[in-house]
Symmetry: D2
Subunit: 138 residues, 4 copies
């Protein structure tokens, strides 16, 4: 970190003990790292609410035997090629694939692409993960 | 707080600025209060996951003209009277009521009562808010 | 329901079996009731996103010995009396109270009141439950 | 779908109109597809709660200049190689990468890997998306 500051947190002893137990369970090295992660998590929520440039990952679970679906998914992704950063295909079992589509844009645009992909007939389960470009997070 | 401790958080300057902006928007007096709230929020999630004694609030929106519903809700609440702390009725408009049922018990028990109430025919919208008895939070 | 319609859902046999098992566990009388609940739940989310008139419940867990807090909570609620429908106080144990504040207004206004109340020093755990006035739900 | 069944849903006319508007906005072809997606979404939640075999995607945003982080992430993934299906690296800008780690296992195991990866110093934002192997969903 280029320019590190330090601030103090006052906290009841018992609450601190429970916090320490929680971050140990989650494998954090130290309190600062855990606190920074909680802060960044809230800030990412705000980036989405406030229309900043964000990143999302759309997961699409489908049976690759589903007629024509793979073509339709590819076609849809090309229509939004300005927003789509990358796509990964995984082979879950003989039938099912998990496709991970990374999308970058305003929150509303990312939601639109996600809706289009997730609503396609044959997609068994689709979901959107909301993350960040990190440009403002450090 | 009976026994206050203090610890330091190291953080990048820009991230701290964004955090300060966020907590100002949310009307926090100071950083410690905001940090403690984030910590307690995560701890409450864990109380629910780990089967500790918790509190929940079930909201039930319904039309009080709905035949027999009010009796059935009351009857169901009596069946779980050990778990139910209190019920408040609100009159939203001429037709709709919002009933707030405070429930205390293990997470699983609270979920069971909530499912029973929310699934009743005539309940327009039901939801469960997960909070705490505060016994372990301070 | 004043004017009931009926539509058909085609669904794979195994998926239907798993759905039936789930709604039985959740105590639903029949599939229509469970489907309507899922639909209304999504519509309530949209009411909040799209700035319609909504209802929320703010839960505030606090120690009633906390100096001056109860006055400050009351004062804040009076500042927003146009939005606040009702408040219920519960006595969780010797120390802790759970206050349930029902709020009605645009989503943004309800969020603002909730932020103000939840951020107060001494509030151990505060949370906002998002529900509806039911005006558009039936 | 190998063995399609059909069931009827009774619903108030106005509620149906609002549902139709919502699924049109989300680009669904027809009501059955939207209903099936809502059902499968709830069933995936249950797979996670009930300890069935599930799939998750962990997103890890980090600065690739962060000293040694990339090695530590790789090392950690090798420790859990039985659970990790695939990893994709994306270059968001000159500094930041988004790594997408697909994980398959019991919900608890997937959560453990996710915690380990997300808590590492240098990971700017990490998150877990909960999806399914599809084995039971169709």
């Amino acid at each position: 970190m280029a320019n590190t500051k330090r601030f103090g947190v006052s906290i009841d002893e018992e609450l601190l003990e429970r916090f320490d137990k929680m971050i140990e369970d989650k494998s954090y090295d130290n309190r600062s790292e855990a606190i920074r992660d909680m802060i960044r998590d809230r800030l990412v929520e705000r980036e989405w609410e406030e229309g900043e440039e964000v990143m999302g990952v759309v997961s699409l679970l489908y049976d690759h035997h589903e007629r024509n679906l793979s073509n339709k998914l590819t076609h849809c992704q090309h229509n939004y090629h300005d927003l789509i950063v990358s796509t990964t295909h995984l082979h879950v079992d003989e039938d099912n694939c998990l496709e991970l589509v990374a999308v970058q844009g305003k929150g509303q645009e990312v939601n639109e692409v996600a809706d289009k992909l997730i609503s396609m007939k044959g997609v068994i389960h689709g979901k959107l993960l909301a993350t960040s470009t990190g440009a403002e997070l450090i």
